[in-house]
Symmetry: C2
Subunit: 423 residues, 2 copies
């Protein structure tokens, strides 16, 4: 029997019980944090060897260049080759940067706005309006970039196998629609991976804007929670086959593989797109941190080395995800006051509570010393029109803390639900 | 007797001799490069220990934060404190970034153009025109940034103790003049250090634009060629005293102290300026490479550690500068066909040849296998109106190659001169 089917007496009893649980929770004076998708110390330790790499005397790259000196805007060949093997693409189509792919995304979109990209009739700032497709729920930092630039963010829902393609096909008829955010594998926060059909359609669809771009943020390309590595779609290759070679800026990084603050980022795209980007990047600077790139080559060895590290991460993360899902099921399952994703990779569980109660759940949790990501943060302008979505980030705390926190969150979900039902 | 005083017979004899020297030079099939201010391998070796730092097990900063994880947009406290001590400022007024201060300069100017800075009535892109003061000769990569943004670059001459202040005072009466480039110590390419009086005047002068900024690129703050470290002016403090706290964006980095491609960059400015910058930097990314910052802390130890490294660099560079100056004096001194700077720090010697012959000198050198920085490269749009300036970068080649190259350059200067004189 679900909470909605309870008669008023039973609901009153249940509400009293939940209120008591919540009071007990508050009395524990917890201080727990489920806000951000940060790796745990245990995970960061997997990459500890990097802190002493490349090591004294090891400073020449495969092309005979001294990585300590200036230059090489594309990044060193061997890290590009290694990562191209991970992605199943040609090393000529990828460049390696500093630690943050978010930095590159910001620059790509900002420079298109400022200067126009290689297919732009004019800089986007000269357009009357720039509209941008935002699958929701999605990654808050993506939306903050397009918000900062003043774009009109148009949401489309995430479905089971990718964003709503019908809605997207309709939107791209508008020449003011210049681009779209996408996290194609183990997406933030849904955990959804785009189907190959969705990828093909995004690559092939006709767009009114000749300079339309999809920021393909493949942040979780190898971030499995199982022993399986799903195939990585060569989206740039697909787009070229479909006659739209410049459609995708495909990003990835080692941030959640080695060290979150000091990894290597990558941009895979068409030669024309890379040339455009490098043209401006070469004004902005002289080259990326190649010492760190060489250190990563030494650490991984090869693409299989990357997958070996990812198996360790899965071993650390999967039990945490499992416990969150178990607690949600145990505490909330029978009442039908929430639904949640069961991701096979990535960093998040997306929790939908009763419409109108997400912000109340976050508030209750905060009062009980459990920090959750702000309600609505997975939507543009942090505005979830249904006030229902909460992003859970299980990676950082140890599993014992996570259990306490999730049990507390479940209590908050129930309390917000009974409040909503007037009990 | 100078070349200009030679009678025609003597000039003809001299020209024949120079032509023979040049033919001999070409016959050697050299392949030498004096183009860029790159540190030599010997210099890069000084920082070799960094390639194994911070070392396994060393990943917590002075505030107890794990440097391997996301976060800390300002950079870790201990590198900010160390560098603040080098500069003689308060650590609260400086933030530490990734490897490149050029990156930060590009962002500061570009974001002012795009969004306006914290004192802007409107984004600079909405101004009818943006004008920018460029002391010449100056740093080519500075000029490329303002060229890329379409600013009108207004040149002012570098005098013995800084840029022409009278010209600058006049220019800043114009509200379209939004900023200025400056390399205040051991400047690129002149080697000139601004006098304290010049610093005070730049800090105190009234400007029509409320959002006027000086990009204070103190790239060579501790880069002495002698045993002396000249005092570093606290320009941000001076400006605050003068009532213009937000006037300066002061940049510096360890690029030419540790490793050119993988050092740490710094931005010293007012709190308001830093807050404005961090506000956008926090959209662009999550934080800098803190592992590399901690590695630098371990490597230097303290500010005296920085100066100890710089003494090693001086020991490596000073003999190269001395040989260049000796060869210029030996080969060109008596003929008065050139003048050159005698810097006490920095990376360059600025060579002025007979008006109209700089590009010919570079061309002759190229034909003889000696790559020089393009004539005019120290001027906006690479346009030296007198076609007289050549930037010499003695740091990279070993001293034996440098001697051969400089002797060849001297031959080219003489050949271009006799050609110019019609001989």
């Amino acid at each position: 029997m679900t909470l909605l089917d309870f008669d008023s007496d039973r609901l009153a009893d249940f509400a009293a019980q939940v209120r008591k649980e919540y009071d007990d929770l508050k009395a524990r004076n917890l201080k727990l944090d489920l806000t951000r998708g940060k790796p745990s110390s245990e995970q960061l330790d997997f990459g500890e060897a990097l802190l002493a790499l490349p090591g004294e005397g090891d400073h020449v790259d495969a092309d005979g260049q001294d990585v300590r000196n200036y230059g090489n805007l594309k990044g060193i060949r061997e890290i590009r080759e290694l990562w191209a093997e991970v992605l199943g693409i040609d090393a000529a189509d990828i460049i390696a940067g500093d630690a943050s792919s978010l930095n590159i995304m910001f620059d790509l979109v900002t420079w298109s706005y400022l200067f126009g990209n290689n297919d732009s009739p004019q800089p986007w700032r000269n357009e009357e309006k720039v509209r941008w497709i935002c699958p929701v729920p999605g990654y808050d930092r993506h939306f903050t970039i397009t918000e900062t630039l003043g774009f009109e963010m148009v949401t489309v829902p995430m479905l089971e196998d990718g964003p709503d393609l019908d809605a997207i096909r309709e939107l791209v008829q508008d020449p003011q629609v210049k681009g779209m955010w996408a996290v194609p594998m183990f997406g933030n926060p849904t955990g959804i991976t785009f189907s190959e059909e969705a990828c093909r359609e995004l690559a092939a669809m006709e767009t009114a804007a000749p300079d339309f771009r999809i920021v393909w943020d493949n942040a979780y390309a190898v971030h499995t929670l199982t022993e399986e590595f799903p195939p990585i779609v060569d989206i740039v290759g697909l787009a070229a086959e479909a006659g739209n070679p410049n459609r995708f800026w495909a990003l990835s990084s080692t941030s959640k593989i080695t060290h979150a603050g000091s990894g290597v980022s990558f941009l895979n795209s068409s030669q024309e797109n890379l040339d455009w980007y490098l043209g401006i990047a070469g004004v902005r600077g002289i080259g990326p941190n190649k010492v760190n790139q060489l250190a990563h080559v030494r650490y991984f060895g090869n693409a299989e080395g990357v997958r070996a590290v990812m198996r360790k991460h899965a071993g650390s993360l999967a039990p945490k995800f499992d416990r969150v899902l178990e607690i949600l099921e145990e505490r909330l399952g029978e009442y039908e006051v929430a639904r949640w994703t069961r991701p096979e990779g990535g960093y998040f569980i997306s929790l939908d509570v009763i419409d109108g109660t997400a912000s109340r759940v976050v508030e209750l949790a905060k009062e009980a010393g459990i920090a959750l990501t702000g309600a609505g943060s997975s939507f543009p302008h942090k505005d979830d029109p249904n006030n229902r979505n909460i992003r859970l980030a299980p990676s950082l705390p140890p599993v014992e803390e996570l259990e306490v926190a999730m049990d507390g969150v479940a209590t908050c979900v129930l309390l917000a639900a009974v409040e909503k039902l007037g009990a």
